[in-house]
Amino acid sequence: MSHTRRDFLKAALGTSTLLSFASAAPSFLARSVMAASSRRKERDTVLVVVQLSGGNDGLNTLVPYEDDEYFRNRPTLCLPTNDLHKIDSAMGFHPRMGAFARLYKDGLLSIIQGVGNPNPDRSHEVAMRIWHTADPVRLNRQTGWLGRATDSVWNPNETNVRAVFVGPIAQPFGLNAEKVIIPSIRSLSDLTIGQMPGYPDHFSKIKSTAESHRKDNANPLLDFLQQCKVNTYANSRRIEAVTSLSASKAEYPSSQLAADFRTVAQLIRADVGIRIFFTEFGGGGIGGFDNHANQLGNHCALLHQLSESVAAFVHDLKRDKLLDRVLLMTFSEFGRTIKENGRRGTGHGSAAPVFLAGGRLKGGLIGPRPSLTDLDNGAPKFHTDFRRVYATVLDRWLGFESRTILDKQFKPLDILNV
């Protein structure tokens, strides 16, 4: 098949109306994809959740450099004030998080301080379970909050996947749903249609399938499956088209997290209906953020990767004018103790900051700075219930009904320009 631009677009996007948009502009595909997505009345927002496994040390991520308690408690782990990326007169980002600081200054990053829950638990498994189920009381809760969110928007004629996990580990419980199947994706090829070697014509087959109208419309299941097949093949072409054209453009660091973000960005660009992406950093299980000994170097490397990868993702989306549709949020099962232990590490804590990135943030530092003297078992206390953050992203961002997903109405935070 000769890939003239016209043929290619026709094959890739399948609507003739798009061709007029595509005439001669250099970034024709990006535009066409945008045009394709604007067919919908409203363009759907997207949530990207980043799990930091192991319990991230919030105090060494966003450092309270004006507080003597910080230096007193952390003789070897405290970070030198001069190297910090200061965001105000009290707080500064870790020295290797310059990219986060720049995003913050540009209004593309917000920080909610002191996020936690009223029943904090210091075991990784239980604490993570609480973040996943959004239920600090019923620990045998069967579904994750994003699984319930996805179930709540399912309808019997919808064939698009609404949530996916992107990453190499087992799917986190936050996505466990009662009804819908939420896929785990290691690469884009998990969502595209593979071909038998030597297949004569990729597109002609898809076309013939798509064009075969069945007479037997008495069986609703057959209709549904047919519609899903056509839609799957169309989505596959969109993903392939986006991949082949934008692969070289965006620059990402070479890490697993960055690779996962690139995959997420491709899927957002392909506009295949996914509203929720879940990614993970730290390796799952008791993850890389769990630094009981010699924390400094390891934590530094993780924060640098996180900061650079998120920034690459934000810039990639911003260039294609997609950032306004995207909200990224991090979480970790708990923060850490203020006092370092005898092994240059820290213990399991409770409250921690949540980072948000995206194009529609009000920006800034949200919520009061947790005190370093009024502590909960040696760790900063929470003041913002994590379910208020969930309610914010569900109600205000995704437009889902948080009350049914979280069992009651938590007050959303006023942090978004929507």
């Binding site: 919808e158 199947i181 896929p183 785990s184 998990d190 969502l191 030597g198 609703p220 057959l222 549904f224």
Partner: protein, 475 residues
Amino acid sequence: MVAQIDKPAAHDKSIRIHLEVTEKLKDPAWAWAVYKPDAHRPWILPQAGHLYRRAAFGATWDQLQQALSDGPQQTIDKLLRPQADIAAFNHTYDEYETSGTGSVDSLRAWWLRRMILTPNPLLEKMTLFWHSHFAINSAKVKNARLMQRHVQLLRSQALNSYRGLLGGISRDPAMLIWLGAEANRKARPNENFARTLMETFTLGPGNFTEKDVQGAARAFTGWFVLMSQLRYIHREHDDNIKKILGQKGKFTGDDVIRIVLEQQATAQTLVRKLYRWLISETEEPRAELITPLAKSFAKDYNILKIVEKMLRSNLFFSPAAYRRKIKCPAEFALGIVKGLEGVVSTTQLARDLADLGQNLYHPPTVKGWTGGRHWINNATTAGRHNLALALLQGSGPYGDKLNPRAVAKKHGFSIPESTARFLLELFLQGDLESNVRDALPKIAKVSAGSDGGDLAEPVRRFTHSIVTLPEFQLA
């Protein structure tokens, strides 16, 4: 519904029969009466394929041909009560499961292999049904040995007595660990098992109160799981009077099971669930249809009898059931494997089925797999397409275990046209609208091209086109 549907006269006739049958199905007595083929409802290939999709995991060519000559009753006899030495087969597999690594990953693989090779596929089909019904997730139990025994229990009672199955379940360490009910103390009765028993295993929501749960929980006190072993500690049993579902007495756990099984709601709930598994998931069956079966089931809770009643019925062989169910991932993949008479790596297959939403030994919640349309979305459709590709392409993780060209030849179909017809009949019993069939790539044309006359590759591609059709996703 039959192959002649394309001729206008035949089409009109089939519509008329369809309407007649729909009318007759309104009478529950007729619906559940034994199907006897006649000129209007002949015993033909699509019927045989339908039976093997529901009562097994698909069929081989020989099985379909044998079914055609045996007729429905004898074919169902064989599925319900196979002649082969089932006990010996299952004993061998039980030993495979308990030797070796004994991990849950290996249990998943052995089970899939059992599904492929068993002389009693209906037993595995029903074991899978009960697995989803009791829905224990190994991620919580974290003990492969207990999980192995749990599924063994399901298998031993799968077509036997629901009373026996429930009795076994109430003393199954895996179940108690799964529900966090390892300690049922007199002073602190654990309500998890009692509640799940009533809500999910028997009565269904709305048919009991919290007081019933509390009474039942007290009756189950004394049972513990200590070091993965079930223990009964008499001094921890609450021997006082309990009130459960209108009855009063010094009840034990066994009494609770007797009492919940006495409730009509239990039989109703189970018959509805079996209906959805064996007959149709497109609409909720009317109460008039369910009640006669529920009444009969409530008498003895004999599972084989109720399954037999459903499989032999007019309703089962009617348009109301035909292709009115979406294949679960295992049915989809094993249908390909069975038809092509091979055995593939089930370790790999277990992982691939998990990606399609059916991770054996790991049902998503206490409610099991919801299934139906939920099996299908863009990701699982691409996943099924790609899994079929991996199974059929003759290289890669599944190797060259399935060769459709060789299977066609073995059964005497060698030229392109007859090979194509063979595969359509094997996988869809030829029941495909002509315009859809026309859209499939023609083997003959392709073979004249780059493959130099060798049909093996084009036949693989043609097979792949068949198993990715919407029709093939229907059970």
